[in-house]
């Protein structure tokens, strides 16, 4: 049987192929305990993380799940963001 980390690395690469970067990052995290010394693994993992951070900055990815973003619109037409 394959161990859980090997399966996760394989699924991470498949997720990259499908351009599902968020899922890839999750699988990389699961695979990390076994591959943390593997340079190639770390390169792919960190590149994926960086890409997700860039996408978040560009607004293409949601902020982390525990962050609440509320938009409040005042009656006078002004807007403010409360984070």
């Amino acid at each position: 049987m394959l161990n859980a980390s090997e399966k996760a690395y394989c699924l991470a690469l498949q997720a990259l192929k499908d351009k599902d970067y968020r899922k890839a990052a999750e699988y990389f995290d699961r695979a990390a305990p076994f591959f943390v010394e593997n340079e190639e693994f770390n390169l792919y993992r960190e590149t994926t993380r960086l890409l997700l951070a860039v996408k978040r900055e560009l607004g293409a990815e949601p902020e982390s799940d525990d962050e609440l973003v509320i938009e409040e619109v005042f009656s006078n037409g002004q807007e403010t963001d409360i984070r």
Partner: protein
Amino acid sequence: MSRTESLQGLEKVLESFLDRAVKLKEDRLSVLGGINRLDDIAREIQTGDDITEEIGNWFAEHNGWLSGGVLRTGDQNRIGEILVEIRRELGQSDDITPALDKINSEIDRWSGVIGSPTPKIILRRPPEPAEPITSTPGTVEQFGLVFDGIHDLFAELRGTKPHLLTVLDEALKKAELQNDKEALILSGLIIYYLKQNTYKVEPYVRRLKEAERSQKQRSQ
């Protein structure tokens, strides 16, 4: 160039890098994905699911692998091990159906081409009073005693664990926490075996070295 434009440029570069990296690994990814799928099927059997159709599809889809050139030795070993596992699980069924027969003959065909891992037979015996380790560790007799001890320790740690890595983890814990010299040697042996079979063993080597250092310090 605005900040947004810079980020968009970086986004393209990173996406392009990952895209090319995956393309370079496309062939390997296909093999690893196939092995991963076979592994999933083996796990489904353990939960009692009917995998007849799935495994039939798997054999049909990956038949091309048997013509050679695609699978590395490590891949062949992995597939061989998983097929042995599947056969063992299917063998526990009382109901021998034509579909089951067909799966078994496919497993035979695959094993015939890729080779099947040598079945391991472990004879268990009750623990014997341990001989004290003498001060002449270089003798054949002494090594024989230690080797017997390692053999028994492996049988004890193995239990019903499905994967050698779990046994290795247990052996390393025993070496680290209980200062057990035989567990240390067993760990080294398993690590070397895994390395020969293309596993990534670096984290375990690090733990082995730490356990060895710790044992040396305690004995001083």
